[in-house]
């Protein structure tokens, strides 16, 4: 096991897959000569050259469409979209071309593309560089959505996404690229479907994904130490499809659920998880499920306002205490 950073894990997955298959290529803004805004493609340009490591113009719709077209012929492009906010410009191609091509061609064509993007709010980047958009991607038929919460997932999910014959959107996080964690030394493929029970518990399930898994883990620690509440933490690394069986299994065990998401609440991950709980195990519930989420505002620049807009582990603790009638 190597203890490496999230960006290093992503870089390693690129490197291994590009060595294995000459049709694996990567493209995006500043990913080549500059090495990538988050270093996720560091050293690849020097190793694989400009034909396979493509510094693109700032044309998200154009280069995303180009990647998709190349994938029709068996090329496996990994597209980096520098900030998920810019993905709006590429969504027409992702949704209308990549996600629908297999279906509307009656199975003749497929788009084995990977779209990686830095999501989440970082520090004071303002309204147009702080979006959380997983809710937008997870409702599109034909598109897989995964979101790694640690370096092992970042490595293993990217490896699996490259091999998958379906288009996969990987939602990363601006604040997590320097996070360290254990990654297996040998090749590892993380499943694109399912969920991980990151911490076992009996009294309440805390559902998180990507950065909110870490709020949940911290909250579980506090709940255990200070309040004697045993919280289970479930990592929903796959947002499309969501793991119905895993959600049902955990809620059937703990009978209470809190969903923590950095995204705003409407039409989001929390709404979907609660809908699944209602459909799968409503009568197992001892209390109504609760969502912890961002305020529905364009992200403010001011530091205090920004902090107020985004939840953290304390909000998760408060939600659980409320669920138990302790707040």
């Amino acid at each position: 096991m190597a203890n490496i950073m999230y960006w290093e894990a992503i870089q390693r997955a690129h490197d291994e897959e590009m060595t294995r298959d000459p049709l694996v290529i990567c493209m995006g803004e500043d990913i080549g000569v500059a090495g990538g805004t988050y270093k996720a493609t560091k050293g690849l340009y020097e190793k694989y050259g400009p034909l396979r490591v493509m510094d693109t113009p700032i044309s998200e719709g154009g280069f995303t469409g180009l990647a998709i077209g190349a994938s029709f012929l068996g090329v496996r492009p990994i597209v980096e979209i520098m900030s998920v906010n810019f993905a709006w410009l590429a969504m027409d191609q992702m949704f209308n071309s990549a996600a629908k091509i297999r279906y509307m061609s009656g199975g003749q064509l497929e788009a084995p593309c990977v779209f990686r993007s830095a999501g989440g709010a970082a520090h004071q980047l303002g309204a147009q560089h702080s979006a959380r958009m997983e809710k937008v991607f997870m409702g599109i038929a034909g598109l897989r959505v995964v979101t790694p919460s640690n370096p092992k997932q970042a490595y293993g999910l990217l490896k699996s996404a490259i091999r998958s014959n379906d288009p996969v959107f990987i939602n990363e996080h601006e604040l997590m690229y320097n996070m360290k964690g254990e990654v297996p030394d040998t090749e590892y493929f993380h499943p694109l479907e399912g969920s991980d029970v990151t911490r076992s518990g009996t009294d309440v399930t805390l559902f998180g994904y990507n950065i909110s898994v870490h709020w949940c883990l911290k909250a579980a620690e506090i709940l255990d130490k200070q309040y004697g509440i045993s919280a289970e933490v479930v990592d929903l690394y796959s947002l499309a499809p969501l793991d119905r069986a895993g959600i049902k299994a955990s809620v059937s065990k703990t009978h209470r659920a809190v969903i923590a998401e950095e995204d705003e609440a409407p039409v989001g991950v929390g709404s979907e998880v609660i809908a699944i709980i209602n459909e799968e195990c409503f009568f197992e519930l001892d209390a109504a499920p609760v969502r912890v989420h961002s305020a529905l505002v364009p992200q403010p620049y001011n530091h205090t306002l920004e902090k107020a807009a985004i939840p953290d582990h304390e909000d998760v603790v408060k939600a659980v205490l409320k669920l138990f009638g302790k707040a």
Binding site: L23, G62, M104, S164, H190
Partner: protein, 333 residues
Amino acid sequence: MKIEGKKRVLREMVLHRRFEERCYQAYIERKIGGFLHLYPGQEACCNGVMEAARPGHDYVITGYRDHVHAIKCGADPKEVMAELYGKETGSSKGRGGSMHIFDAAHRFMGGYALVGGPFPLAAGIAKAIQLKGGDEIAICFLGDAANNQGVFHETLNMAALWKLPVLFVCENNLYGIGTSIERSTAVIHQHKRVAGYNIPADECDGQDIEIVYEHARKAVDHVRSGNGPFFLELMTYRYRGHSMSDSRGYRSREEEELWKQRDPIFILRDRLIAAGELTMEAFEALEKETDAYIENEVIKFSEDSPEPRVEDLEKYVLADRETQTPWLTGKAA
């Protein structure tokens, strides 16, 4: 074009015309649903370019006015019509419809319904050709109105920057849906717009197939020789409305009549007759024979074919699970 080639392409163009006219009738009879965009008037564009290219070898992509392009690449007219009928035997197994004809075996990479959407896809196909080192080219047929989308400019820039083997064919039919080019576009002649990207461009009459062919030959040679992209503009006209819901109130019948004087099929027919290679009787017989083929084979096949099964509603959304096990479960197969 050699004489035998001209005769063959005339037969093809008559098939393309009669096929589209039969679609119109089937639509009126409600056999075909959704939107239907027909090609009559523009036949010399697709045929002229593809005679200069290699159908079935070169990759072709286009918009929603796609039936003729698919057939020209080698798609079976029966399967194209069955697709319009929404049948399981259709090109896209009834899942695509008129705007989404595909025939991957003949390298017809599809019809797309977002105006301008195929531009970057075509460049991507060219990128794949470049990586794999083949002698194919990508040919992107779109209308003039698609050039007002942002991806037009984004794609031209990338195609020129990376010297991608892609031929952009602009079928300038003077209308974007129901708005004339004068009212929507600051530049009427579209080839002028690509000068800013250092892409060589050419423009010619899109009604005379021999003229189209001569210009397309140079364009195709340029791209296939590794010189990067080329932009070919063909001045043409669609006789019918944008789609079936269009009664053409935005233009005069006089204007339409003027264009019909330069019908691409009649231009070639009359030239062959003048050369003593064809008689009017033989041409009329060809039309009848074509209609009989469409009725007895194409329509019959479509009528007789089964509908897709409702149990298969979700088939083709994602790759077959069995083939994806290691990546879905994390366990090697």
